[in-house]
């Protein structure tokens, strides 16, 4: 497989893994944020939204500090799996999950808020168990939120650069994703190869946003980044 094709495959794998892992994780966070009246809610909301405003290099830098093999988390990971989180695909997945968290949480939070507590109460009085209420009352209303969250998360992960560079560097087949490959082509003045990849990403990004606006437009307004 050529280096660029390998980068395309790795990017798709990273984006798909991040999206799949974020669906359940962000669902829990978004549900709590949509329903909680706790005074700490605004703090958690701010933490979740941080990647929207934080320079990716800053996030990448702190992740590097927190996840390197000398750190508590990083050394535990090495102990458990035998490999380092930094400069590895696993580390990229963790970084992407944190970096893309608001892109999944916010559409879901807006979708969950569209189901008032009073309606869930009514469903309970009709004999619907908590699981039944989730599957048959919340989920049908939230499906557009899930579509928006998945498309945005996938597209955002595909476009990652700063965090990936800080956490993963540029290791072919392991951490060399599309954005890094484009950067490398530009650095080596291989503009033709850079054009092919950049144009592909341009078209892909447009397609993703068109999908979101076409099929779930009114759920998108919550993203402020």
């Amino acid at each position: 497989m050529s280096g660029d094709l390998q980068a395309v495959w790795l990017t798709a794998l990273l984006a798909a893994t991040t999206t799949l892992l974020l669906v359940p994780l962000a669902s829990l966070v978004a549900w709590w944020l949509a329903r909680s009246t706790s005074s700490s809610r605004s703090i958690i909301e701010a933490v979740v939204a941080m990647p929207l405003v934080l320079p990716p290099t800053v996030l990448g830098f702190y992740l590097l500090i927190m996840l390197n093999p000398e750190s508590a988390v990083g050394s535990l990971w090495v102990e458990l799996t035998g490999e380092s989180l930094t400069f590895s695909f696993s580390g990229l997945v963790i970084a992407s999950i944190i970096y893309s968290l608001p892109f999944m949480v916010q559409p879901l939070q807006a979708a969950f808020r569209a189901v008032p507590e009073s309606v869930l109460e009514a469903a309970a009085t009709l004999g619907a168990s908590p699981r039944d209420r989730w599957l048959n009352v919340v989920l049908p209303v939230a499906k557009r939120g899930y579509l928006t969250g998945c498309v945005l998360t996938f597209a955002h992960t595909v476009g990652e650069f700063g965090v990936v560079l800080m956490m993963g560097g540029n290791i072919p087949g392991e951490t060399r994703v599309l954005s890094i490959a484009i950067y490398e082509h530009v650095e080596t003045l291989n503009y033709d190869a850079a054009h092919v990849l950049a144009l592909g990403l341009l078209g892909f990004s447009f397609l993703c946003l068109w999908l979101v606006y076409r099929y779930a437009g009114h759920r998108f307004e919550v993203i402020r980044g």
């Binding site: 189901v115 009073s118 309606v119 109460e121 009514a122 469903a123 009085t125 009709l126 004999g127 039944d132």
Partner: protein, 294 residues
């Protein structure tokens, strides 16, 4: 068969504290009346298991539904209820038909449940079946909610002002249907309303709630008669001076003597609002037009 409902305990709310020591046999349908903010809806929510902070005990037919230590002993969805809230609370993003299907699929006992066709006919819902819940009027929403509550085949029906948003014709039609169907179905009923004529037709025993506590309890017709008498006496005792009139809306604002703070008289009803601090006749007296009082 006895349908004993026992509620003992309290629940603090911003405007009142619900303080109950009730033991009623729902073989006779129970009505609840009281001024706005007296705790009627909160009482229904306690029975439905929607107030986990209620410190006390709720028991129905010998089954403990809620006690202080285990508020969710029998969770709402396992209580076998049929509930109609004031605002209908239909499932969003679904048509009327799919709202009804949601209830039908969760019916406790398909054989005992009311016939779908008969119900949609009686509640005048056939022309609305394909409409999304969001476009319905308040009255239509309430009728769908009522149909939904009956379709689940409840073992206890809790209705909170279920007809209030309907026009007079639909109200009469629904009262007639419920008055005929409920005794035949033998489903215990707790019915909250401000409307004396609804309570008179649908319930046999009545509780008057005042600021979270039961201020009177007894046979519906006796309590309503006593209330009418109190209102008549109050009307005689209160003299009013017309301060202004509004011919367009058929209303007049009156200045009352004693401690009353105001009144609005319209073609529909007379509302006498008394000073809440006054311990005289109660916080509010609501009088239905003469032709509606049976």
């Amino acid at each position: 068969m006895s349908h004993q409902l026992i509620i003992k305990g309290s629940l603090r709310r911003a405007r009142f504290t619900l303080n109950l020591d009730l033991n009623v046999d729902l073989t006779k349908p129970l009505g609840i009346i009281g001024a706005t903010g007296a705790g009627k809806t909160t009482l229904l929510r306690v029975i439905a298991g929607l107030e986990p902070d209620f410190s006390g005990q709720v028991e129905f037919c010998g089954e403990i539904w809620h006690d202080g230590d285990h508020p969710d002993q029998v969770p709402t969805h396992q209580r076998g209820l049929g509930v109609v809230f004031q605002d209908g609370r239909l499932l969003p993003g679904r048509t009327v038909e799919r709202n009804l299907a949601f209830a039908q699929r969760r019916a406790r006992n398909a054989d005992a449940a009311v016939s779908y066709e008969a119900l949609t006919e009686a509640l005048d819902l056939n022309h609305l079946l394909s409409e999304p819940a969001e476009v319905l009027s308040g009255g239509e929403r309430q009728r769908v909610a009522l149909a939904r509550a009956l379709l689940v085949g409840p073992r206890l029906l809790l209705l909170d002002e279920p007809l209030a948003a309907n026009d007079a014709d639909h109200r009469q039609q629904l009262i007639a249907y419920l008055a005929e169907w409920l005794p035949a179905a033998g489903i215990p009923l707790v019915y909250v309303s401000h409307a004396a004529h609804e309570l008179a037709q649908l319930t046999r025993q009545l509780i008057v709630l005042d600021r979270g506590a039961v201020s009177a309890q007894g046979e519906t017709h006796l309590l309503l008669a006593a209330q009418r008498e109190a209102i008549n006496n109050a009307a005689q005792a209160v003299t009013a001076v017309v301060m202004s009139t509004d011919s367009e809306h058929n209303t007049a604002t009156l200045q009352l003597d004693h401690d009353a703070v105001g009144a609005v008289v319209s073609g529909e009803r007379v509302l006498l609002q008394r000073d809440p601090e006054d311990s005289g006749l109660g916080a509010a007296l609501q009088v239905q037009p003469e032709e509606n009082q049976h």
